[in-house]
Amino acid sequence: MSLGKKLRNSQLWRSIFRHPAPLDRRNRVAVMLTNFVLHLHSVSAKKNSLRFSYTWGMGLITLYLFLVEVITGVLLMFYYRPTIECAYNDILALRDVVSFGVVREVHRWAAHAMVITVMLHMFRVFLTGSYKAPREFNWVIGVLLLVLTFLLSFTGYLLPMDQLSMWAITVGSNMARATPLVGHEGPGHQLLTLGGVDMITSRSDARLMLLGARTVGQEALNRFYVLHCVALPLVATFLVGLHLWRVRKDGGISGPVAVGDGRQTGAVGGEAS
């Protein structure tokens, strides 16, 4: 018996993986069903869903980049303290002092890449018409994920607390001033008064809720830190889970659907070769 075979038949191996190595058909099915990570997949898949030219692999890469962000993000949190005094210096130290100092680079570039791949993924899903029934709602979940990706990126942008981050967030959050009704420069904010006193001022409007103060400072840093490291990732994780579950429940990755008498789409499915 070869060493590999011995290993795979050992008590330890079997206790972890719950079945022999996936070398024959039966165990290849079993591995998908009994392994917690793999069971996100179905057991078999249409060949079409494996073609790069069909899916562009963009949903998958987005998912992978999200995992990279989680892992590098945790590493960054070991070194980073979200206070006005520490934040900038901690980021400096990350570059100059910490050994193997590319974690920040990987985190930042993977974030940019994720924004790009999620847009490409949406583009692909549109071009293949994969939002059509029964996948309408998964498209809606996808749009929420797109927004979350933007928000994750945006909240992270502030954390280094350099000129770039502070002013980018200032520009971005200034728009909240103009929120209808609840921004202190927004249309109709004049209508919300209580006994002749304005309710919506620069000290009580949507922008203040976002920043915790009237300018970008410690309060904003704290809020963005919590959003970036806790709240948004939790929501995103939940929605990604839902999204992938729906991909399966909606019948796996899409393929051609014949319409009506099949005339318009030709002999869809009848051509399996």
Binding site: V106, W109, A168, L191, V268
Partner: protein, 444 residues
């Protein structure tokens, strides 16, 4: 890490570029060799193979020249002409014309001979442009590098999707099924899919690590509320919104339109009544949806991001690709409201004023009277126009969709079209707001 050459003197800059540019051209040459191999082995096209071989040799020559300190440079007159010709107007209209041409000529444009040549030309222009310090500085800013990559990725995938659509459309015309229908066999996820995922993860990791080793993450001076950088830019994916601020009130550009974009995107599956084109690439079977999405996504969203990233400089002025970022350049902004045009210019009377002591209803009445032209126009655009379209050009669509869905669709569409319309009105007539009610901070 890449040490970008110093920009102090133009000669010094070009000299420092010799190595990187040389390797760049050699890389493009290698790409063409790959294409040649592909043409011979897979596509069995001698013609293509010969063309790619010639192009590869040309690029290899350029690489040699660059390494010996004589890179291809663009002539000054060409750069000047480019800078002068490009402005928000030509850039936007040019890009939109490009989309129309792409749509109409897609059957020719997706042919490898055409599209690969276009790629080569763009890579050549890119290489030659990198010898211009202003161009190089903009493109090589660490946070801008991914956007350059995004442009190429978008071009590639637009090509990939459209090429498949063109092929499918031909098959469908002949009564065959789309290519995708030939892949309905099933395979086991272990090992086929799991291994693809593994390979994808490895490739992505390699790209990320190389990228991270080459380009350090930017870190500027510590945050300082007293020093406002000029320009202050939002993160790149929000630059489209920042760009819209030029044409709309912040409430519209920053809150209402983004909300409508998100809601509009979510509504797509429920507003597209066309059952065809589900699960395969096609243009012919869903022309309307395809055109609307490409226009909104590439023609507005991405385009505005590119303008904001690469063309906007100090004072949010528009700069040509080779133009020095002069901090004193200020675009003369004359902004005229529609009510001013209406009362003062066309009727030759004063714009009605709201007396300060007037209260409640009287105030509202005067405001509505003052804005009568804009309100009428808005009403015509959002109410009369869709109603007319429902009985004429879009009659079939209106019947297929039912009333509620039709109105939701058309209102979202008109909202989207408002952006290019207002851009054009702003450039040509300096029009700022159609309806402007500063009394309630409302501007449209």
């Amino acid at each position: 890490m890449i040490d970008w050459p110093h920009y102090a003197s133009e000669e010094g800059f070009v000299a420092g570029l010799a190595g990187p540019l040389g390797w760049y051209y050699l890389g493009v040459a290698a790409l063409n060799l790959g294409a040649m191999w592909y043409a011979l082995r897979r596509r069995r096209s001698r013609l293509e193979a010969v063309v790619w071989a010639l192009m590869g040799m040309a690029f290899a020559g350029l690489g040699g020249l660059a390494m010996s300190g004589h890179p291809l440079v663009l002539p000054e007159w060409l750069k000047d002409a480019c800078d002068r010709a490009l402005g928000p107007v030509t850039f936007t209209l040019g890009a939109m014309a490009g989309l129309v041409i792409f749509y109409l000529g897609r059957r020719v444009l997706v042919q490898p001979l055409v599209s690969w040549t276009a790629l080569n030309v763009s890579l050549l222009l890119m290489g030659a442009s990198m010898t211009d310090p202003d161009f190089a500085r903009t493109v090589s800013r660490p946070d801008n590098v991914p956007i350059v990559g995004m442009v190429y990725l978008l071009a590639f995938f637009t090509w990939l999707g459209t090429a498949q659509a063109v092929r499918n459309d031909e098959r469908l015309r002949r009564g065959q099924g789309p290519v995708e229908a030939g892949f309905t066999d099933k395979v086991l996820v272990w090992p086929d899919v799991v291994y693809i995922e593994l390979i994808g993860a490895i490739v992505a990791t390699v790209v990320l690590v190389v990228w991270s080793l080459l380009i350090p993450a930017p870190l500027e001076e510590p945050a300082n509320p007293a020093v406002t950088p000029n320009p202050s830019k939002a993160p790149w994916y929000f630059l489209g919104l920042q760009e819209m601020l030029l044409y709309f009130d912040p409430a519209v550009a920053g809150v209402v339109l983004p909300a409508l974009i998100i809601l509009g995107l979510m509504a797509i599956p429920y507003l597209d009544p066309n059952p065809r084109g589900s699960g395969y690439y096609t243009v012919d079977q869903r022309r309307f949806g395809w055109a609307v999405f490409l226009f909104g996504f590439l023609g507005l969203w991405i385009l505005l991001i590119l303008i904001g990233t690469f063309m906007r400089g100090p004072n949010w002025s528009f700069f040509g690709p080779y133009e020095p970022r002069d901090p004193h350049k200020i675009a003369a902004a004359t902004n005229i409201k529609l009510c001013e045009y209406f009362w003062a210019v066309w009727l030759g009377r004063g714009v009605p004023r709201v007396p300060p002591e007037s209260g409640g209803l009287q105030k509202l009445g005067i405001i509505l009277w003052r804005e009568i032209a804009g309100l009428t126009l808005t009403c015509a655009y959002f109410v009369v126009l869709p109603a007319v379209l429902a009985r004429t050009a879009l009659r079939r669509m209106r019947q297929a969709m039912g009333r509620a869905r039709y109105w939701l669709m058309i209102l979202l569409l008109l909202m989207m079209l408002m952006l290019p319309l207002k851009m054009i009105l702003n450039w040509t007539a300096h029009l700022s707001y159609i309806v402007s009610i500063p009394e309630y901070s409302f501007n449209l």
